[in-house]
Symmetry: C2
């Protein structure tokens, strides 16, 4: 485990954006997150700085010996400037909570950004596994292995009645949040998406946007995750989510087939126009860029246009404000970002 | 003078679209039209077919010897199908009136489409001179010369009190309509155009769209012409129009300079986006195509993008319904035209 500047990450693309894995034409990525706390210590928000520091050192020591993090990058939030913290947030490596002021917060990022840990988030430990395509089972295997290794070194706050105790009751129980990011352009286009989301909500699953909690769906990206963590086993949660996801994949796939047959020309028109705009615009907002890139991704998936999917995924990451500023090496105001964003897209799309 | 199929015109570009002449960055073309009728014959709409036929032969014979029409193409409307008639209408060579059913209507088109005559329109003779750029004086010289030659062979209906007598009283007097087609994207963008048009109307000039009488301005094209033909000399009419036009040119030019300085980036963005759309769309309506091409033309005039202006002008012509169908060699419905139009533009813009 090494301590380092976040700039190392700037020139790499996390494993979850490689466009590989099962159903990768529809499923961007799968994510498993465990929330854990240390026995005998108050939750972060109720703890004194002294207690927070103790938690910090305990966790850091325990994690240091886990093979998955041998080449991990340790980052103390207090040592990062705002831009770097937002950069990590945009990469889905830390949460909004962790970017905010507070003592002894840290993040540890493993090889290829697959595994990461937040220390002193609202829970003492937030372990995340993030993989490309539909790979929840693979992700939970990794998460469990690391969790078991940590459990041997740390005394978790656990109740036989409630399960893992967490700062927020919505996480109590398994402490598990399983989520899958989907790209559903045809369910949006054919206006079936509202029905799908409503049905998912009734089954106690939540739908969010690409850019995480509290964000609206944009660019036809939808992140579906379990709401309930209590009273169900990890297996049940993951299996139920997989059932829902497989239904949604079927809906999207059949919408793609049907609609593309019926409206081939208008879809091609939309895809190529988006390409034309992305290759030519001089100023582009984040919202518009995401929509146009989403159309292009749809074009790739439908075989309308031939562009490297990794390149596309990378752009979804790079067009975000902190990434643009890191790439440029300086602060940019909103207008400057729109110009830089347009330039970046023009140059990167082949 | 030869009789021929309209297809000869398909592969040529009228002189008025060459993008030459004075102020050709703002002024597309200048047009002079004389309305004349033969003494002793009722106006076309009140005449019997017998009388119409007499007029037809008188005019045809008189015109046949005029040098300007030595290689002219004579077309009897009755021998043309609807598509061919609309094709001539789109080229600004005949009027809507002439496309409509009626005996002994004809059109004679001179070299490079500069000079043309309609026979048995609402007036017996409609002589038109159409030139590129701001060239009203040159155009009226040509029109007068031909008119004089015709006057030697034909007895015009003329009153010393009223001047030339015409079917519609708005043309009585000089029988002159002088008009100038302008491209005013920056007056539109800066919202000064309404003021300009209102002022022009107060000075007794009319503003119309690119596609002639009864059409709305589209693609930032405005055709300004005199309303009054009675009680003023030809010289006065043309001089007054030239004064107004030169004001409008100044307004547009200063708007271009000011706005381009202030909003360089957004103008460039608009121009390049339009280029991207035109180069990539698969379906495009006439209205949208005209708007996008207008943006591109603005880009050429502002030095933002380097595209041949003749090529652009030709596209404004070719994207019209009858032209598309003539190019394709068959009838096309609206949807088919939108596809063909997109294809044509993609292939023609370099």
């Amino acid at each position: 485990m090494k301590k380092s500047n976040v700039d190392i990450l700037l020139n790499q693309l996390g494993a979850w954006l490689q466009g590989t894995g099962e159903y990768s034409d529809i499923v961007i990525s799968s994510r498993i997150r465990f929330a854990r706390n240390l026995k005998g210590f108050p939750f972060y928000h109720w703890a004194s700085d002294k207690k927070r520091e103790e938690v910090y050192f305990k966790v850091k020591e325990a994690i240091g010996n886990i093979p998955d993090f041998q080449n991990g990058i340790w980052m103390d939030m207090v040592e990062l400037n705002e831009l770097d913290r937002y950069f990590l947030l945009e990469r889905h490596l830390i949460s909004k909570e962790l970017t905010e002021k507070g003592a002894h917060k840290a993040s540890l990022i493993g090889d290829r950004e697959i595994v990461s840990v937040m220390v002193n988030e609202e829970d003492h430990i937030r372990l995340q596994v993030l993989e490309s395509g539909l790979s929840l089972l693979q992700a939970i295997d990794i998460a469990r292995r690391i969790d078991n290794e940590l459990a041997q070194k740390l005394d978790y706050a656990f109740s036989y009645e409630w399960g893992y105790l967490t700062a927020c009751p919505t996480n109590t129980g398994t402490g598990l949040r399983a989520s899958v990011m989907l790209h559903l352009p045809l369910l949006v286009l054919t206006k079936q998406i509202t029905n799908v989301i409503n049905t998912i909500a009734k089954l106690s699953f939540t739908t969010r946007g690409f850019y995480g909690e509290g964000t609206e769906a944009s660019g036809n990206f939808f992140q579906i995750s379990n709401q309930v963590t209590l009273g169900r086993s990890e297996e049940e949660i993951v299996e139920n989510l997989l059932k829902v996801i497989s239904q949604v994949i079927n809906y999207e796939r059949s919408a793609r087939e049907k609609f593309y047959k019926q409206e081939k020309l208008s879809l091609e028109d939309q895809v190529f126009r988006s390409y034309g705009m992305l290759k030519n615009s001089r100023v582009v907002t984040s919202k518009e860029a995401i929509e146009l890139l989403s159309n292009l991704r749809m074009g790739i998936d439908l075989g309308i246009i031939d562009i490297d999917i990794k390149q596309m995924n990378e752009l979804f990451l790079l067009i975000q404000p902190a990434h643009l500023q890191k790439l440029e090496g300086r602060k940019l105001n909103s207008k400057e970002r729109d110009i830089k964003r347009a330039e970046l897209i023009r140059n990167r799309i082949k």
